[in-house]
């Protein structure tokens, strides 16, 4: 049971860290595909 509960905590911690990375790397569509000449 301990191993199972620890696995859940580990998964959530890694997922939160990954969410932080994604939020830094990815942009919303309106920013990713816009340039000085085009705004979506």
């Amino acid at each position: 049971m301990k191993a199972f509960l620890l696995s859940l905590v580990t998964a959530v911690v890694i997922a939160i860290a990954w969410a932080g990375v994604l939020n830094k790397v990815q942009e919303p569509v309106s920013e990713a595909f816009a340039t000085t000449g085009v705004r979506l």
Partner: protein, 336 residues
């Protein structure tokens, strides 16, 4: 007077002559147009279907800095038909088909029982780290599977039941879960690959095990090492299938970083087909590891298995444990 009449006759003649000339030109022009020409202005509408079928894409030059906007049309009808129709058929057949097979198997064969009964002594099968990695990967897989199946089947199945607003909210959270849990799942697959690669290389023991049906259909107990042939199949499905969905999934998560529109379509096709096959295979794994075989769940639950269970299902592995001096002990606390 005579000159006036003469002027009138001259004017009348000129007028009539001009009209005659104009009439001649008007009659001649259509004749000119009806002559055969290399340009047929109606041709493009007649050949529109051919245009759509033969051209891979319609693109041109643009002054917008993002050159990808020059792609006017990228035919996606086949891809759309795949993910709206074909994939649903494939997914429905493999997943429901596997469920049906398992139900029929359970109703006819029943649970694989421990024929010699419990011995009261246990042997450590999986340590705490192995079980942690397995459960982290498994729980992530469950969430990824449900959220992924929602993308394919959610609209036709759930909207009639819960309505558009609730479906939208649920799908938004499911998408976040799918994207964020992909990383711990990937880490789990890599660790599983590294932890158990040594015990999952196919050998001749597996040939014998498969020939004897793994003992699934009768009461045979073919010898097996740490992992039998069935478990090795699951291992390689997890490693190779997990690797494929991970790679294609990250391509989809970072759109157009390395692939164009065709590449994204291919990634989605591979990701979805491997995923539904993966789900079907894991249903069989979950079945045999839970209700399908007495004593099996303990291997991943507490980490210890009954010695008689090990003798019946992994006799060669138990002998190795005895030789190494890490065999039976009285059934006690979990191996943590």
């Amino acid at each position: 007077m005579a000159s006036l009449g003469r002027l009138f006759r001259l004017a009348l003649g000129a007028t009539l002559g001009t009209w005659a000339l104009l009439l001649l030109v008007a009659l001649a022009a259509p004749v000119q147009a009806q002559q055969p020409s290399s340009v047929n202005p109606t041709a493009s509408s007649v050949k529109e279907q051919q245009l759509l079928q033969e051209l891979n894409r319609i693109q041109g030059r643009v002054s917008i800095p993002d050159k990808r906007s020059g792609m006017l049309e990228q035919p996606g009808r086949d891809w759309r038909n795949f993910h709206e129709v074909t994939l649903r058929w494939i997914g429905g057949i493999v997943i429901l088909g596997m469920l049906a097979v398992l139900v029929i198997f359970y109703l006819t064969r029943g649970q694989v029982r421990l024929e010699s009964g419990r011995s009261g002594r246990t042997v450590v099968r999986f340590n705490a780290f192995e079980r942690l990695v397995h459960w982290m990967t498994a729980t992530c897989f469950i969430v990824l599977a449900i959220s992924g199946l929602n993308i394919t089947f959610g609209r036709p199945l759930l909207i009639p039941l819960i309505g558009l607003e609730a479906f939208s909210d649920w799908s938004q959270w499911a998408k976040y879960g799918h994207n964020y849990l992909s990383f711990p799942f990937t880490i789990g697959v890599i660790l599983i690959f590294l932890m158990w690669i040594a015990g999952n290389i196919p050998d001749k023991t597996d040939v014998e095990w498969i020939k004897r049906g793994g003992g699934l259909l009768g009461h045979d107990h073919p010898p097996a090492k740490h992992f039998n042939a069935g478990q090795k199949m699951i291992y390689w499905i997890v490693v190779l299938g997990g690797g494929a969905v991970a790679i294609t999934g990250y391509l989809l998560m970072f759109p157009f970083y390395t692939a164009g529109i065709e590449g994204m379509q291919v990634a989605q096709v591979v990701h979805s087909i491997v995923a539904v096959l993966f789900v079907a295979a894991m249903l069989a794994h979950i079945y045999i590891g839970s209700i399908g075989m007495e004593g099996a769940f303990e291997a991943m639950g507490t980490g210890n298995v009954d010695v008689n269970w090990a003798k019946e299902h992994h006799s060669l592995w138990l002998e190795q444990q005895k030789a190494a001096g890490t065999d039976a002990r009285p059934a006690a606390a979990p191996a943590e």
